[in-house]
Amino acid sequence: MSGKNKHHIDYGTYILVWLALLAFTTITVTVAGISLGRYTLFTALLIAAVKSALVINIFMHIRFDEPIFKAFLGISGMTLLIIFLLTFLDFIYR
């Protein structure tokens, strides 16, 4: 969106990221099969967080964008985090 477009990402990187995303999905499915007790959810969320970070930074080009977009995304991310924390106040103590 910045119009400068000086950060060109080559196809190799895209393919690498895509493979990484596939790998993470496989791990998520595998981990769901192993009984990790209370860490199951935590692991799944961690993997999901890494995956979305990859998508946001590379596929969506946010890494190379104007600060205002980073701020927007940061605020949305913070909101999501708070929502998770508050939901866990129920799940953990139920």
């Binding site: 949305s76 508050l86 106040l89 129920d90 103590y93």
Partner: protein, 549 residues
């Protein structure tokens, strides 16, 4: 005819936007394919207004059923479908899109000195998506299986087990969500990118601030309901155990996800309304708004804190005790930014020279009804009283006071405030004043008894009741006749004004925000020349020079 915006002459274009088309067509196609934000706003008005009347008539029929104990005009299952439909229509088709899609579309670009929204085509697409969503609701009524009967909250496990057309109806809500998200994106971008020179963030009218904060909620919260709805559909179609405990799911997780959207959605409903109030009060008190920055910031604060209180809808659902007291505490905190607004409005009126025109009277109506709604919200937000009042008529009364008495009332205020600008015609002021009074009386007759009945233990969503509620139920039903009668009365004199009304001047109320500097109705591009803004948004000293044109 020359007009001045902040000292600069602005030429009126001769033709209004009704006479100019953004495409090569004329007639109905020039509307259906338009990218003019004002025409799209009016198309939303037609659609949303229609559904509002449908919802109101369903409400009227429910009240008729409740006029006496036992079966009157419908059976229990029909009543179940009626309150569900009434809720779905009023929430998803009327009150959530209402103010942003109609008045936000029409006035946000004008108030910041722009020619249109940032993405005019996307804007038209949002309207079509809205219409598709509405059509899906209608189709779901007539397919085998019958109309949805889960209540507008679609609670699990019933919504997975009900044999009615749940999937299609909730898919409609999913589609409507997209319309809302796209509108939000459009408004955020417009506010950031298309402000006229000199229109800094702190020179924006407060309606723009409120609509901007709302747009953020639309963008961040709406996807959550989308995901939740898809999960319910997957669960219904494929029997995957996500929410239904019989399949190993977690029903409280559904309630969390539902309210993570639907509570912020309450602020999607009320924030633009508060923005309208902040426009109307200075205009009719002839005073600059008191505490401009505090009001602007409280909109953002409400938008943010609104995310943190959703589980106060779930105190009796079996949530953990820790979550319960924390959410109860957070709930009380939302009252603070709302209080900031109320006090600033009152301070604005203090020593103002008040001109009680219909829009102002609607706002007075709002302050009264919304305060009752808000304060009874605190009663429900306290853990102990919530146990007693949960799922009773007290809740029904509370949310009608905030949604209908709050946002609904402001919908009428905005309609009466901006009608001359949108249509270039003036309605009968005397009739409009009578309407406010009738509405006020009818509204309180309709809903106040519900507080008492709720306190006495009358559960919500019941089509029958014990004899001791009969008198109060009757009063409530009479109230519904007055309210719905008033709605048709308002519709009547507005349509009459449209067809036969006097021509409105460009600034009938003496407002000073940018929309009052241009013709009524505006030209297609709003401003012949984009204005340069030098004044504060509510600087009434410019009124003199505006009148001297």
């Amino acid at each position: 005819m020359a007009d001045t915006v902040a000292g600069l002459p602005v030429q009126h274009a001769e033709k209004s936007f009704y006479q100019q088309s953004t495409n090569k067509y004329s007639g109905i196609l020039s509307w259906l394919l338009t990218t003019d934000h004002k025409r799209i706003g009016i198309m939303y008005l037609a659609a949303i207004g229609f559904f509002f009347f449908v919802g109101a008539v369903i409400g009227l029929l429910m009240r008729l059923e409740l006029i006496a104990p036992g079966r009157q005009i419908m059976d229990a299952q029909t009543y179940n479908s009626f309150f569900t439909l009434h809720g779905v229509i009023m929430i998803f088709l009327f009150i959530i899109p209402g103010l942003p899609a109609i008045f936000g579309n029409f006035f946000l670009p004008i108030q910041i000195g722009a020619r249109d929204v940032a993405f005019p085509r996307l804007n038209l697409l949002s309207w079509y998506i809205y219409m598709i969503g509405a059509a899906l609701v209608l189709v779901s009524l007539f397919l085998p299986g019958g109309p949805i009967d889960t209540g507008w909250t679609f609670y699990i496990p019933y919504s997975v087990r009900s044999t009615t057309n749940v999937s299609m109806a909730i898919f409609a809500a999913f589609v409507l969500g997209f319309s809302s998200i796209l509108t939000g994106i459009n408004f955020v971008t417009t506010t950031h990118r298309l402000r006229a020179p000199g229109m800094s963030f702190f020179k924006m009218p407060l309606f723009v601030w409120a609509t901007y904060a709302t747009a953020w909620i639309q963008i961040i919260a709406t996807p959550v309901i989308g995901i939740t709805i898809l999960l319910v559909i997957i669960e219904r179609l494929f029997g995957v155990g996500i929410f239904d405990p019989a399949l190993g799911g977690d029903p409280i997780l559904f309630q969390h996800m539902f309210w993570i959207y639907s509570h912020p959605a309450v602020y999607i409903m009320i924030l633009p309304a508060m923005g309208v109030v902040s426009e109307i009060i200075p205009t009719f008190a002839r005073r600059t708004i008191f505490g401009y920055k505090a009001i602007a910031m409280s909109s953002l604060a409400i938008a943010f804190v609104g995310y943190l209180v959703w589980a106060h809808h779930m105190f009796t659902s079996g949530m953990s005790d820790t979550a319960r007291w924390i959410f109860s505490l957070l709930t009380f905190i939302v009252a603070l930014p709302s209080g900031v607004k109320i006090f600033n409005w009152v301070a604005t009126m203090y020593k103002g020279s008040i001109d009680p025109q219909p829009p102002f009277l609607w706002v007075m109506n709002f302050i009264f009804l919304f305060s009752i709604g808000g304060l009874t919200g605190l009663v429900l937000g306290s853990l102990a009283t919530n146990i007693h009042l949960h799922d009773t008529y007290f809740v029904v009364a509370h949310f009608h006071y905030v949604m209908f008495g709050g946002t609904g009332t402001i919908f009428f205020a905005a309609m009466h405030y901006w009608f001359p600008k949108m249509f270039g015609k003036m309605y009968n002021i005397k009739l409009a004043r009578i309407a406010v009074l009738l509405f006020f009386v009818g509204f309180n007759l309709l809903y106040f008894p519900k507080f008492i009945m709720g306190y006495m233990g009358m559960p919500r969503r019941y089509y029958d009741y014990l004899p001791q509620f009969e008198a109060l139920q009757e009063i409530s039903t009479v109230g519904s006749w007055i309210v719905v009668g008033t709605l048709f009365f308002i519709l009547g004199y507005l349509i009459h004004a449209l067809l036969k009304g006097k021509k409105a001047t460009s600034n009938p109320w003496g407002g000073v925000t940018l929309e009052w500097h241009i013709a009524s109705p505006p030209s297609m591009e709003n401003f012949a020349e984009i204005p340069t803004v030098t004044r504060e948004p509510y600087d009434f000293s410019q009124l003199k020079e505006m009148k001297n044109e």
